[in-house]
Subunit: 207 residues, 2 copies
DNA sequence: TTGATTTGGAAACGACCATTCCCTAATTAA
DNA sequence: TTAATTAGGGAATGGTCGTTTCCAAATCAA
């Protein structure tokens, strides 16, 4: 019972009929639909069918279609960040941590998974000039990646695995472009081997 | 008169009322709308207004909305390729040609121009899983860039400006990811200086 | 000229989209 | 128990979308 307060179901029970569907599972489904079809091509009817909910129920849980996307986007970022940090933590040196981060995105960028694409990259395309607030979330997501990469490079410079001649900020932005570009090219369906070879080549950015 | 056959107006006059609008100008406008809003968010009404044509006229010139996009896409590629090849031709060594190609995309990826984004990158997002034929055009466009970059690297290896230790195919794919990533990050509005510093860093891929 | 053909453009059309309404069901507070 | 509150779900709604239709205008072939 004590660990109940550690789970996401720990929130104080609100009044009224309780939600029947699992929010995390619903957001998993929603982000899949938005990733595969893009924001504008994803119809509410597709979301309701995939999520197994009626439109009325969805509009009770989210303000509107945009609200569904923003919730799915936040969910996607939370999951991704968790996996990414686990991979980075498994590496010893700064350079190895950088490689793990590059590998993380590479492993998402080939085959069928790669074709589904990245919700953040898709968001950049779908919202940049159309929705200032949603675009700000995309900027935040990119900035977090860029900062993490710069931090890892500085760790590498501190432990001697990355030369001090490397400009951490410039290299971090270059890596950011590379990894997001991986996700774009991944939408065209490339092989794991090709993408890994490109990732290996990209490690020259920290030599 | 003789040079008339070299221009795009040189086609043999067909029967019926001649087209009144300039096709190249119309496609310039269409690709701008598609770039700024994305395929699905770009409504025919927006295209007609921007192009200064009635919907009936547009549907006489193109089969459907998809046809407008594909024509604009081809137009965009033709223009871009011309400019890119001019920049490459201005460089002496293979390495400098690679740098010119990277610079070409960098100069498109900051400020307001960057925010408008790339029609090919946008196409990858909008069509990858929804329209096999349109997606094939995107694949073709990426493949042309990748091949050109690999060729430039091999030129550099032949003239001694790029080490033979570089794997041209792996580096070309890495550059492809980097340049398309530049276009994605460019949609979030970055400064010229930041992007140029990333481009300079990316040149380590051919050291 | 005349007829065939093609474009320009406005209005009309059917489909589908995001959203709301309304009724029922499940829960808490009193 | 009863009232208040919230979720579930399906039907209804209003708007917008892509596309078609129709007629006038402009050109070529005869």
């Amino acid at each position: 019972m004590t660990d109940a307060i550690l789970t996401s179901e720990a929130k104080t029970r609100s009044r009224g009929r309780p939600r029947e569907f699992d929010m995390d599972a619903a957001l998993d489904t929603a982000l899949r639909v938005f990733s595969e079809r893009g924001y504008h091509a994803a119809a509410i009817s597709e979301l309701t069918e995939a999520m197994g909910l009626a439109s009325g129920s969805i509009y009770k849980a989210f303000k509107d279609k945009r609200g569904i996307f923003l919730a799915a986007f936040a969910h996607y970022r939370k999951l991704g960040r968790r996996r990414l940090e686990a991979m980075i933590a498994s590496a010893e040196t700064g350079r190895e941590k950088v490689f793990q981060m590059v590998t993380y995105y590479t492993e998402l960028s080939y085959g069928e998974a790669g074709r589904k694409g990245c919700l953040v990259v898709g968001g950049a395309n779908d919202f940049a000039l159309l929705d200032e607030e949603a675009a700000a979330h995309v900027v935040t997501a990119f900035a977090a990646d860029e900062k993490l990469m710069a931090d890892l490079i500085r760790i590498g410079q501190a432990d001697g695995s990355i030369p001090k001649t490397v400009d951490p900020d410039a290299a971090a932005l270059a890596f950011l472009c590379f990894t997001k570009g991986l996700r774009v090219i991944g939408k065209t369906g490339r092989s794991r081997e090709e993408m890994l070879s490109a990732a290996e080549a990209a490690m020259k950015l920290v030599t």
